[in-house]
């Protein structure tokens, strides 16, 4: 195999596309962790639920864009219910309990999808408007994956605008820094937590529906995704959204480039990357001490 510049460039584009999904997943996880201090082990399962619901809505409405909007709303709603009923009673007890609870929850969600959609999963297809490949000059690349990169960029921008430029975003930022003061200022912090948990879950669901056309949709698809999301989130720094984006792209590119030279070590390379980052910067690239450190 020749490592031509064309091949390496195409591989980099592939890495960025992979990184886009990783970044989205990490954002959802980081948001919940940074704000609530909750390690959400159901994140992979919610990704999977998003993929299933996305394909289901696509089948119902025949329109991919509708399902792109409906799915995060649906999964976000599930997230709201989870926070209100299951996670809220555990606040103040430390990070261990929500971890165990969300782990149990992930098993329930997996089984629920098996019952609802069958054990084999459902077929997924790329929406007709986004099919085919594009000649990038360095090779042919699936149009849908370019769309993924664009969609992620758009979502990240929207999220950034929401958090940095709106009043509600201001409350969220304040609440992650000092929940006590926010309460003292008269804002119901538990409502804020509810909303943030919902948003984090909605993003997980959105990642699922975006990823669904590229891979098989089955109940077990979220399990490896969970580990990958954690790796990316930690590399970026728990609670840091820019960190999640940078780390997502970094991990995607590392995975892609390793696949080129040593494909059987590709999966290992992201763990090695995490170990190296943490040994040099123990709180992740953009993380700060004090976030559950």
């Amino acid at each position: 195999m020749e490592l031509t510049p064309q091949l390496v460039s195409l591989q980099l584009v592939t890495g960025v596309a992979l990184g886009a999904v990783y970044a989205l997943l990490a954002i959802g996880l980081s948001l919940i962790f940074g704000m609530l201090g909750v390690v959400n082990f159901a994140h992979g399962a919610l990704f999977m639920v998003g993929a299933f619901l996305g394909m289901y809505f696509l089948g119902l409405t025949g329109n991919f864009w509708f399902s792109l909007v409906l799915t995060p709303l649906a999964v976000g709603a599930i997230g709201l219910v989870i926070e209100r009923l299951l996670v809220r009673p555990l606040y103040g007890r430390g990070i261990d309990y929500p971890l165990l609870l969300t782990f149990g929850l992930s098993w329930v969600l997996i089984e629920a999808m098996r019952v609802a959609f069958g054990i084999e999963g459902i077929p997924s297809s790329t929406p007709p408007a986004l099919r085919g490949s594009v000649d990038l000059g360095v090779g042919y690349f699936p149009l849908y994956r370019l769309f993924l990169i664009g969609a992620t960029a758009a979502i990240v921008t929207l999220l950034w605008l929401f958090i940095e430029k709106t009043r509600y975003g201001l409350i969220i930022r304040a609440g992650s820094r000092d929940p006590e003061i926010v309460r003292v200022l008269g804002i119901d912090i538990s409502r804020v937590w509810l909303a943030v948990f919902g948003i984090g879950c909605a993003i997980a669901g959105l990642s699922g529906v975006l990823a669904a056309p590229t891979r098989a949709v089955n109940p077990e698809m979220g399990i490896p995704v969970l580990a990958e999301s954690f790796v990316v989130t930690v590399v970026g720094g728990m609670g840091s959204l820019p960190g999640a984006v940078v780390a997502g792209l970094l991990v995607g590119i590392v995975f892609a480039l390793t696949s080129l030279v040593a494909p059987d070590l590709a999966e290992l390379s992201i763990f090695v990357l995490m170990a190296l980052v943490l040994l040099i910067r123990p709180y992740g690239l953009f993380g700060k001490a004090g976030y559950m450190g």
Partner: protein, 411 residues
Amino acid sequence: MTRPIDPKRRRLLAAGAGTALLGVPAFVRSQAATVKIGFPVPLTGAFSAEAQDQVRAAELAVKEWNDAGGWNGAKCELLVRDDKLNPGEAATRTLELIEKDKVNFVVGSLSAATQLSINAVCRDRKIIFNSISQSDTINEAKDWSLYTFHEALNPHMTAGAVARYAFPKFGKKVVYLTADYAYGHEMVRGFQRAGRAFGTETVADIRHPIGTADYSAFLPRIQQAKPDVLVLCNFGRDLVNSAKQATDFGIKQSTKIITPVLLFTSRLAGGPDAFEGVMGGTSYYWAMEDKIASAKAFNDKFRKAYGGAVPSDYGALGYAGIRSVLQAVKNANAVESQPVAIALRQLKYDWYKGPQFYRKCDHQSVQSIIIVESKSKGMKDKNDVFNVLHIEPADEKNLRTCDELGHKVST
């Protein structure tokens, strides 16, 4: 705080208790009432669809045998257990089946790792194990025992058959996209050996971690290499994902995609587009009934029992694995492992796909291999997903030699 009991004394007590229990007579296998067969398969997990089909087909075989009178009044009972596709769990379940349920035989497994683990437990306790999924390793002398039988195909046979059919047709430059575990390696080895006769050249053997969902990182270099043939040496969901994504990357424009095992359930899960033009091997496809009488008989029995459904490839193995063991019980007129094993070694049978027998040195079932190609047009119903291109007849020459496997004596 007072000292706890001296640990040395505790150890002596434990050893004493253990020794005393040795006096208890070993469990006696009950023979008269039922013939018990343990059936550990992954009812939950990535292969649950195939496993559940195996259970259906196995229950069919048991019912058939019982309805025909069983053996000396004894009926067969199938004890199905979920091994969760996990070798540690498979070992525990097998221990449960042997020690608590006192099964006479074990049939099952749906992965190389689990079958080797079940085999290890059965072998030590001299219980017959008839494996119904692919593995080259289980034929090798290290894992083998008189009580180890292998009903399913092995990678060497399967890859060889597909290679012999496809390589002459499509070209010499081959790229392998291989799942990085024994199954993948063994398939590649089988393809390369058979390919030597046709002068095939391995351009690349790209090993990916098993369970990879996203293959986009491996596809650009395949795109650049433009091989004549791309062999997807992976299984089940890995195959579905890689076929789908290879299609997305436009690989099919210049390359023929083949795979050693084209599972019926994978094709249904992946859909016609992803598998368009993909060709592969299989141990069984229901549409063989046009050519093979026993296939028709088996399909009809299955349809009757399960409301018109047709058996899948792995499902059929569940049927054959059980039926062979039960036939051997009748032939040997015994349920003890040794006479039944000898009866199995001498068995010549045709349960569903043509004549088969177990080779003496490694108990591998010598059987036909079917080459199929995925259909996307003209499908008569949801099950009509393949065209049968070729049936390679059962031939011992397609197996690795007994010497190569480390067997000293091929009696």
